[in-house]
């Protein structure tokens, strides 16, 4: 038998593998169950893409933040837009609350109020023959939006809060766009609200990515990981936090 045949026969032994179930059971037996998996049951595809990412969520729940925000940015707008359109109650048209007389509620309260006020104006416009609206109502909406904007936190407490705020701001912007399209001239202004929300999301991603970079600086062992880490740091320094996060996910995703 030639050496090549011997090597071929040896290589066949590489097919010997333990059962996947046993491999998973052993890992669980040694490390115990990952608690955050019970709380954040993301789709299996995402977990497969970043299998090791869950590891960090035990000690650093903020690390799931970025992933959730990214997903939230994509789906929240549509979700909240649809949900709120279908949930408009008919008798809500009588509810007019002056935000300045309310006790100190959070961003969620004022965002919801702004949504309702905008929805009411939208409904009014859809039935009106002459597309005009009382200037006072526009001022009321702007005041609510301004208060909501002041209540937007610098960083969200958790991913759910971020998703909620982003979803509502997207919905408000959509409604403002629709109302503005119907009226020839409005003074509705969501620029500050949008800016503060974007800032909140960016700060969340920035702090998450920064935390991850510090962590990976300690645990990166091989050359490939070090190259990716440098790439992630370069993106971070350039202000490209999302891109930096993507590179970090590559580091945790493969063997």
């Amino acid at each position: 038998m030639e050496e090549a045949d011997i090597i071929k026969a040896i290589k066949i032994l590489g097919e010997i593998k333990p059962s996947r179930k046993w491999v998973g059971d052993l890992e669980t037996r040694i490390l115990g169950k990952k608690p955050m998996e019970r709380f954040f049951d993301f789709p299996a595809r995402i977990r497969e893409f970043v299998p090791s990412f869950d590891v960090f969520t035990q000690r650093f729940p903020a690390l799931v933040f970025a992933r959730v925000v990214v997903i939230a940015l994509i789906v929240a707008g549509a979700f909240w837009g649809l949900a709120n359109i279908s949930n408009i109650s008919k008798d809500e048209s009588t509810v007019i609350v002056n935000p300045y007389k309310e006790k100190d509620n959070g961003a969620d309260y004022y965002l919801t109020m702004a949504e309702k006020e905008l929805e009411k104006v939208k409904t009014e416009l859809s039935f009106a023959q002459e597309k005009t609206i009382d200037r006072q109502k526009i001022q009321q909406i702007n005041a609510t939006i301004k208060t909501a904007s002041q209540k937007i936190p610098k960083t969200a407490k958790n991913p759910q809060e971020a998703a909620l705020i982003v979803g509502k701001v997207v919905s408000i912007n959509q409604k403002v766009k629709e109302v503005s399209a119907a009226l020839s001239d409005t003074e509705l202004d969501t620029e500050d609200l949008t800016h503060k929300t974007t800032q909140m999301v960016e700060d969340g991603i920035k702090s998450t990515v920064s935390e991850l970079l510090i962590l990976f600086e300690k645990v990166s062992t091989n050359d490939a990981q070090k190259v990716l880490l440098e790439e992630a740091k370069a993106n971070f320094n350039a202000g490209l936090y999302q891109e930096s996060l993507e590179v970090i996910l590559k580091m945790t995703g493969g063997n």
Binding site: E3, E27, G32, F60, N255
Partner: protein
Amino acid sequence: MDSVLYFQFTKIYRKNVDHIYRFCYLKLNSSQLAEDFTSDVFLRFWGVLQEKGALNIKNPRAFLYRTARNLVVDYYRQKPDSKTISLEGLEGIIDPSQDLGKKEAFASDMKIVQKALSRLSDDYQDIIFWHYLDNMKTAEISQILNKSENAVRVMLHRAMSELKKEVNGV
């Protein structure tokens, strides 16, 4: 639990568990024993990782193989008569697309290689498995065996020559 250690262990475990299992399986001739030994290897690794920290194990794969190797050696010290290289159940992994004649010829070749491997020393067996099965470079093998790279190269060459002789009945 320290999340850095947890992360480190998970990465290393997923990357190496198949290799360590296969190594144990081939040395112990039993899937049950291979599972037990592999569990033991990773439990010990986890213990050391917690004790020394993630950064203090420079070559985890070398550590795992050294541990597996020591466990196998201890096992055979207690049961010296049961030593063999296992090809139990390997019929199933031979390429099913091959025709019956080729399959039989290949199975026969494998049996010959199995017998030849079982007649080699532990060092020669291991070095052949690591290099040809796990595609390890001589530098990495040298860390497991605590030998110089040059010594490993020579050893690998001799191991393969020995195996050829055994296979061809010289």
